[in-house]
């Protein structure tokens, strides 16, 4: 592990990133302010994905189900049962915990391509379930959570999550929590074991590690972070729809992470931000924007195989976590 100087530098860098995000709240024009809030929540999703894909080397194609578990776990009780914001958020996280625990227990019996397929199939089942119970979820059309339901009463005042600044700062706060949680995990002993499993699972086992238990812990942590992102999405943006459970939302976090740099703590944010704006800008010129996105991805894979931050770390900044 790196020395104390490097540790201080790592925490300083992450603190600066958070401070910058907070400062942007007061600077950004309205449109970009809204975009960035959305990007931050999706970046939490990407960070959860990165924990499993980047650090443990498990490629899941089913993470939409964890995001959607959070989305529905928070949105449904708020919409149908009139839960408050805080219990609804806890409900979303709890749903993500349960789904990832069950899926992890079953899917981790496989590895490699089989793991990809099994997770994808589970996610498809989840997606179809959200459509099947259309009476409650209203399927693709989705539910819109009303403004008065998305408020937290604190003593005498209320925190209105539909207010742009509150929404943005809530997203930053949750992003910061997820970022520092990820940072703590990957720098911990457990994190070192996860990387060892990625590098050589057989060897890790022969050092006395229960690799199944470690991988299961990683699937659940990843699932919980993604569910927290889903729950936050429902509460901050007020929309709960089955699009978020579709296969597209399993592939997007993979692309975000690959772009920004797998197994880097800040890569997911960079990748999500970049991709969001590429789609946003190109789609205003042409309806064939996915063509441009595809071309960019091919270029990235050819020249920046390790993503933006992964390449930076290889060439110049070896201390980057």
């Amino acid at each position: 592990m790196s020395g104390d100087g490097a540790t201080a530098r790592v925490y300083a860098l992450h603190a600066v990133v958070i401070a910058l995000l907070v400062a942007l709240n007061y600077i950004l024009p309205e449109y970009h302010h809204g975009v960035l809030a959305r990007v931050l929540v999706l970046a939490i999703f990407a960070m959860g994905y990165n924990l499993l894909f980047g650090y443990v080397g498990l490629l899941s194609l089913g993470h939409a189900m964890f995001f959607a578990a959070g989305l529905y776990g928070a949105g449904l009780p708020l919409y149908h049962l009139g839960w408050g914001v805080v219990p609804a958020f806890a409900g979303g996280v709890g749903a993500g915990f349960l789904v990832s625990l069950i899926v992890g227990l079953l899917a981790l019996r496989t590895s490699g391509v089989a793991f990809m397929i099994v997770t994808m199939m589970f996610a498809q089942v989840f997606y179809l379930v959200t459509l099947y119970f259309g009476a409650w979820t209203r399927g693709d059309e989705g539910l819109v959570l009303q403004q008065q339901a998305r408020q937290i009463t604190l003593g005498t005042g209320t925190l209105d999550l539909t207010n742009p600044a509150t929404r943005y700062l809530s997203a930053v706060a949750l992003f910061a929590a997820a970022l520092f949680a990820t940072l703590a995990i990957v720098r911990s002993r457990h994190g070192r074991v996860l990387v060892a499993i990625r590098e050589n699972e057989e060897r890790a086992k022969m050092l006395g590690y229960d690799t199944f238990a470690n991988k299961l812990a990683a699937v659940v942590t990843s699932g919980v972070i993604c569910a927290a992102a889903g729950a936050a999405y429902a509460l901050l943006f007020g929309y709960v729809g089955s699009t978020f459970a579709s296969v597209q939302y399993s592939i997007l976090p993979l692309l975000w992470v690959l772009l920004g740099g797998a197994a880097t703590t800040l890569g997911p944010l960079l990748g999500t931000l970049f991709m969001y704006y590429v789609i946003d800008i190109t789609s205003s010129y042409t309806s064939a924007y996915m063509l441009i996105v595809g071309a960019m991805l091919i270029l990235l894979v050819l020249w920046f195989r390790k993503g933006v931050l992964g390449t930076l770390r290889d060439r110049w900044l070896g201390w980057l976590p």
């Binding site: 590098e199 057989e202 022969m206 006395g208």
Partner: protein
């Protein structure tokens, strides 16, 4: 003295091949035991059964009075059985330090401070003479150093039984000298099971030798007895001397 490790009727078949066939084996604590035999004799399969990488087809394994036949590999490691791989199997993309920190942090049941891991890891690296290369990436180390790192990882587990699978393969003469000294030092507080093709190393280290051939133990005895055994010469030593010539 009670045996540290015993196997009874231990077998492992791969299809029709009896890789390990009805092996009764016993190892005393504090011993350095060499396992020799021609390629394909079942040596690596045998130790893989002991450390739990393969499940046996039949038979039983007892370690320190406990039946471990059905125990998963990682729990056997925790009981004190360490295996160093025949094919160098260090974590190539991690630093040498991280490679030994992994076994050290697993064995540390007391004290959660980072200092304890650092101290243990540096000690293990020092014992094999790699302390100066702690922050080099393991995959970029010279081959001989990777072999030593592999041994350091085994050592860092503080094993009671250390299984070394062809540790001197690919080492230079000077490195082999150092390895022999290191193995003697390790043997002061651990039992060693050594698979080795290099006869001078075997003769220098082993108190007893087990000769495997076609999945069975062909002979067992002191180095002098094995050297004098006609069947062994025919099965193995003759060809080994030819190979060395």
């Amino acid at each position: 003295m009670t045996a540290l490790l015993t196997t009874k009727g231990l077998s492992r078949h791969f299809g029709g091949l009896r890789a390990v066939d009805n092996v009764d084996f016993s190892l005393e604590p504090g011993e350095i035991r060499a396992v020799i035999g021609p390629n394909g004799a079942g040596k690596t399969t045998f130790v893989s059964l002991v450390c739990g990488r393969y499940a046996p087809t039949s038979g039983s394994i007892v370690f320190d009075g406990e039946d471990i036949t059905a125990m998963p590999a990682h729990l056997r490691v925790r009981r004190g059985i360490a295996y160093t791989f025949q094919i160098t199997s260090v974590f190539a993309n991690l630093s040498a330090y991280d490679n030994v920190a992994l076994p050290v942090q697993r064995t540390l049941t007391d004290g959660r401070s980072r200092g304890a891991v650092r101290q243990g890891a540096m000690e293990a690296l020092e014992r094999v003479g790699l302390a100066g290369r702690a922050h080099e990436q393991a995959g970029t180390l010279a081959y001989g150093h990777q072999r030593l790192l592999e041994v350091a990882m085994g050592l860092a587990l503080r094993p009671r039984l250390l299984i070394l699978d062809e540790p001197t393969q690919g080492l230079s003469d000077g490195e082999i000298e150092n390895f022999i000294a290191l193995a003697r030092e390790i043997a002061r507080d651990a039992t060693i099971l050594l698979i080795e093709h290099n006869m001078p190393v075997v003769m220098a280290l082993a108190r007893r030798i087990s000769v495997f051939n076609a999945g069975r133990i062909l002979a067992e005895g002191s180095p002098a007895e094995i050297r004098a055994n006609a069947a062994v010469q025919e099965a193995y030593l003759g060809t080994a001397q030819e190979a060395e010539a």
